[in-house]
Symmetry: C2
Subunit: 284 residues, 2 copies
C-alpha cells in the first residue's frame, strides 16, 4: 500500500483530487436538499451489475426532473476512467446528481454531476454470523421509486437505533412493512417462500438479484408483508449493495424464528457471492 | 450604485466573497439532504423581527439534532457584521446549518454554518392588486415544526403550478389544508374571523405577526381548516417573510369570495407594513 494515495473524484466535468471537490453553496442540494444518487461496488476493477445501477440512476433523475449532463455511454466511460485512476482493490462509487447552481435558490439550475469513489471493506462477518436486531418506525419515503438524497428520517433515527441496541430500523405504514433507510427487507415463510414488500419501496439491485437467485429453488412473492407475517416468519434478512445479505434475528422485542441466522438466508448469501464472482469473470 | 459590488458570505468561520463560498462534497447536505435554515429580511440595516427568526433557527437545529457552532450572541453579531459589510438597501439573509462533513457519508459531522445575504426586491405589487390563483396537492411535510432544507415536493410541483396558470400550491392531508411549500395560509370567514391551520405547519414569523395584528380587531382562530371552509370563506391569503401578505382569489377552479382581493386582507397588509416600520424605528 502506498501511503497518502491520491484519490480522485469527477466534478464540474473533470477529474480532481477528492479533497478539492467542492460545490458552490448556491447548489440546490445545499439550498433545498434536492438531488438523486446511486451507488455500486467495484471488485477487481469491475463495477458490479453496472447496467442495473445506471438504469436506476437515470430513472431517479427522470422522476426528479433532473436532466443528466452526460449520456449513458459517456457517463459509463467517466466512471471506468475514475476506477482506473483510483485503482482501489475494493471500492464503492457514488453517482450524485444535484439540482445545480440555482439563481433563485429554489428553481433547479443545470444539474451538477459528481462521481465519488472510495475504498470499502467487505461487510462485517459478525453480523452474518450472529444476525442483527432491528427496530421499527412508522414512515413512508416521499417518492420511493427514486433514490433521492433525502435521508432526514433515517439520520434522525440513528440515535434511537443505538439506544435500543439495534442495528437498523424498518419502516412501516398502516401495519405494512416496507424498507430500511438504505436496504430492502425479506422474510422466509414457514413453507420456504421468499417474500419481500412490493409497494412503496426502492427497488434495490441486490433485492432483484436475490429474487432471481431464490426463484431457482423456492417460491418467491412480491406483495404486502404485515407485522404478523414477520412474527410468523421462519427467517428474515435485509439486502443492500454494501451489506449484501444480513440475517435479522430480532424485530423490536420479538425473536424471529429460532433467533439465529437461518439456513435459507445463509444459502442465498453464498449464492449471491457466487453471482458476483460470475459477473466479474464474465465481464472481464 | 457601484458596479460589481462585492457580496460577502460567512462560511467556515470567516467572511469570504459569496462567489468563493463552497462546501466540500462530503457535507451531509450534499450527501443526504440533511440541514436546516432560516431566512429573514433586512431593511435599513435592521434584521426584521430578528429574535423570532433566531428562536426558530435554534429550534429547527435542535429538532434535527444539529448543534449550532455559534452561540446566539455570537451568531447575532456575525449576522450584523455581514449586514454592515454588504450594506444592501434591502436584502434577505439565510442562516444555513448543514449536517457537516461526514466521514461515513451518513452520520452527521460537525455542522457547517453558512450565512448568505442577497439583495431582494419588494413583493410584486401586481399579485397584491389582482390576487393569485393556487392549486392544491396532497402532501404532509415530514417534520413540520422544523425548517429543514427538504423541498423535494415543492420543487417537483413547480411545473404543475405553471401549467395550471397558478402561482402556488397549497398542501392538504385528509381534506384538511395545511401550508404552502414556503408560506402559511389564512382565510377570512364570513363573520370576519381570521383563521389559519394550527397543526402540521411551520409556524411562520409573518403568520405570528398577522395573528397578533388581527387579534386587535377580529376574532382569530388556529385550528383545522377544510376545503369546504376555504370555499365558504370571504377572503383568503398567504403570508411569508418575502411575500408579506398576498391575497388568494382562486383555489383550483373555485373563486374565493368575490374573486378579488378582500378589504380585510388588504387592511392587514397595511398594518403589517406599519409594524415593520415601527420595528425598525424602535430597534435603531
Amino acid at each position: 500500500m502506498v501511503a497518502d494515495k491520491k484519490v480522485y473524484a469527477f466534478i464540474h466535468h473533470e477529474f480532481v483530487p477528492l479533497t478539492e471537490a467542492y460545490l458552490h453553496i448556491s447548489d440546490l442540494a445545499i439550498q433545498r436538499g434536492y438531488g438523486i444518487f446511486d451507488y455500486f461496488w467495484i471488485q477487481r476493477g469491475q463495477p458490479l451489475f453496472f447496467e442495473d445501477y445506471l438504469d436506476r440512476f437515470y430513472q431517479s433523475a427522470g422522476l426528479m426532473q433532473l436532466p443528466v449532463p452526460l449520456e449513458r455511454r459517456a457517463l459509463r466511460e467517466k466512471a471506468l476512467e475514475l476506477i482506473r485512476l483510483n485503482n482501489f482493490p475494493l471500492s464503492g462509487m457514488k453517482l450524485l446528481l444535484t439540482g445545480g447552481y440555482s439563481e433563485s435558490g429554489y428553481e433547479p439550475g443545470t444539474p451538477n454531476l459528481v462521481l465519488i469513489e472510495q475504498a470499502v471493506a467487505y461487510p462485517e462477518q459478525e453480523n452474518v454470523e450472529k444476525g442483527i436486531k432491528i427496530i421499527t418506525h412508522e414512515y413512508q419515503r416521499e417518492l420511493p421509486a427514486a433514490k433521492t438524497i433525502n435521508y432526514n428520517m433515517g439520520i434522525r433515527l440513528i440515535g434511537q437505533i443505538k439506544e435500543k441496541g439495534a442495528q437498523d430500523v424498518l419502516y412501516h405504514q398502516n401495519g405494512i412493512v416496507t424498507e430500511f433507510p438504505r436496504s430492502n427487507f425479506f422474510i422466509v415463510k414457514q413453507d420456504n417462500t421468499i417474500a419481500t414488500p412490493a409497494r412503496e419501496v426502492l427497488k434495490g439491485i441486490t433485492r432483484k438479484n436475490v429474487l432471481d437467485l431464490a426463484a431457482a429453488t423456492y417460491a418467491t412473492e412480491e406483495g404486502n408483508i404485515t407485522f404478523e407475517d414477520v412474527q410468523q416468519a421462519k427467517e428474515a434478512f435485509q439486502t443492500s449493495t454494501t451489506k449484501r445479505i444480513v440475517p435479522i434475528v430480532q424485530i423490536n422485542d420479538t425473536l424471529i424464528g429460532t433467533g439465529k441466522p437461518g439456513s435459507v438466508t445463509l444459502a442465498l448469501l453464498q449464492q449471491l457471492e457466487a453471482l458476483e464472482q460470475q459477473y466479474i469473470d464474465q465481464t472481464k
